[in-house]
Subunit: 148 residues, 2 copies
DNA sequence: TGCTAAAGTTAGGTGAGACTAACTTATGCA
DNA sequence: TGCATAAGTTAGTCTCACCTAACTTTAGCA
């Protein structure tokens, strides 16, 4: 099996891989139409994206069958889903954003931030959530929620 | 002057407008080649983007001349540059990110976050920067800087 | 004052990522 | 068990955002 190098995944392909990963977790398998429904794109769009992910060895596709993630795909999918969860949690529990809006913001921001920035966001969230910081976090959330 | 509606600016066009705005501020005028240099794109790319911005009434272009922002363009440009500055400041002064990396992250994140999220990030930064919070901010930055 | 070099534009092409329409394969149930 | 419907694929098109090559305009200076 010859390895080719591919550029890092585009935001779009990250979304497809993340959806496939999440659906595999929740539903046991990732059917193409469910990915399309989750991402609100057409069937051919999913088909093309899966082919691109398969070319990178991230998913295995038996034609007309379910999408399965390779070991690499599982690792990357988990990482992307983790970035998403981390940001959503920060938006909700630190900034006090409405969960639906936090979800949208996380979807977009997860492709924009560097590993290091993400790590620091996570650390900040953890710091502010320590029990000793209860009052501070409450005040911060109050401050974030107020109009400026 | 007939107004057409246009969809909101794409991330790419926001970048061009932001660059034009910033150059106008620092250099007094925005020459096309400077925009291209700032964004690391070719002359024709700038030319095309300026045409698109002009079609939306955001910039005035006299052929072969400097790019000037309209009143709308100035407003939007200032807003976009503000988002950028706000995020960079958060990354540097709250998360303790290296300024060069903060710049890159801000460039990408400025297109990803909603108005509300941005507002709350700003409020959080303001909150943590109040003098009464000196020790907390220092501890937070220390926590963010440490490996997890 | 005219020529050259820098700046800007036009023309044409590429690749990503989306779409619709039409086709193929798989599935489930009468 | 065969056929209708659901799921997936193929083909072809569109737009966006970039590129190079070649052309035009502007401007500076000998």
């Amino acid at each position: 099996m010859q390895k080719k190098h591919h550029p890092p995944l585009s935001p779009s392909l990250e979304d497809y891989l993340e959806a496939a990963y999440t659906l595999s977790r929740t539903d046991g398998s990732a059917r193409s139409w469910r990915i399309g429904a989750a991402l609100k794109v057409s069937k051919p769009s999913v088909s093309g994206a899966i082919r691109a992910l398969a070319a990178r060895g991230l998913v295995l596709q038996e034609p007309y069958g379910a999408v399965r993630l390779s070991a690499d795909g599982l690792r990357l999918g988990a990482e992307i889903a983790g970035r998403h969860a981390l940001l959503k949690d920060f938006f909700v529990s630190i900034l006090g954003l409405d969960p639906a809006e936090a979800e949208n913001d996380a979807c977009r921001a997860e492709h924009a931030l560097s590993r290091e920035a993400l790590r620091r966001v996570q650390a900040l969230a953890l710091f502010l959530k320590t029990p000793a910081r209860r009052a501070t976090l409450a005040a911060a959330r109050r401050a974030a929620g107020e109009a400026i």
